[in-house]
Symmetry: C5
């Protein structure tokens, strides 16, 4: 999983049926010190994350697991909100 900050959201009327009612958030990936790194992406939210919160997200097939047995066409999902990151060596 990777760390990211929630920085926005996407409004979309026409979409795959299974996405109806699911928040699509814009994420900025960050490193363990909170600094931006890499490109922004879109992710679904399975934990109620809000704007500016630090989260970690899961990519790939398993990004759809929180909605199992529905097969949601999603490749990135927020699976947790970060309280604190402990790193012994930057």
């Amino acid at each position: 999983m990777l760390l990211a900050r929630v920085i926005g959201n996407v409004v979309s009327t026409v979409k795959n049926d299974t996405l109806t009612g699911k928040k699509i958030l814009v994420l900025q990936p960050i490193d363990s010190a909170g600094k931006d790194r890499g490109e922004k992406l879109l992710a679904l939210d399975s934990v109620g994350a809000g704007a500016a919160e630090t989260v970690y997200y899961c990519r790939g097939r398993e990004a759809g697991f929180p909605w199992y047995p529905d097969d949601v066409p999603v490749d990135a999902t927020i699976v947790g909100i970060v309280d604190h990151v402990n790193v012994s060596r930057q």
Copy 2:
């Protein structure tokens, strides 16, 4: 998922049977400000996206979900059309 603009399409007569009758579009990935970023790719369309529209697409195994239970050999599918992207910090 990632944002992209529909910029073209592929004509293909010889293809895997499960792809018959499905539109293959050329996508240019873009950032949340609408600027091009990264390499163009081919994607199937599950929502009726048209030329020049801003869409978001899903990659990987789950790109085939819109056609489930058919197992379509596709690794990128448009799953929504974007009305608006709200970003609090570029």
Copy 3:
């Protein structure tokens, strides 16, 4: 999916049983204008593609779908031959 040109093949006697009798081709990924981009890779062929043809290939788990229900350990498969690519903006 991504565009590529077929530029060679791999001869391999010792291989996983499920790969027996399947052509392994060398692909050079190309952009929509036909120019090389990125690294060459190996792919199986599900459509009868030949040397120098322009094709599109599918990556990941779904690359094995053309041989379903056989579970072929393959991560890239040619799923179509390109007749023409229309792009409104390069």
Copy 4:
């Protein structure tokens, strides 16, 4: 799989139910000589790895296999602790 060193952990109260009780570690990928390379990431631990240990981790769908039949939304899992790496040519 890739080599990495365990350099920290993430404290997270709000998370997907299936992640409850599982350690989330911060990994620094390393090369076979033990030198850092690439970006840090978060992984679950299936083998009891501790701080500063050299491990190898598995990415993608199969990162969830150690918890099967639970469908854990995880894309990186530590699957072994390294005793020694033998490389004939650096």
Copy 5:
């Protein structure tokens, strides 16, 4: 799939149960001319590959297929040994 040369192995006592008895090899990815490219990685071996041999490996979920129905947490597996690579254009 990608080409690689076997350049070493990993000794690991503590590991996921399903990995017991499986060789973990260190691979150096190479191009079709045999030159190194990209980062080394760890892979399981499903074909009896030995040191210095040129092989091709499969990444992702399907890397576990050679051990099906066991769900082995592996994301890279050697699936064939290369006799010869024919490329019409370098």
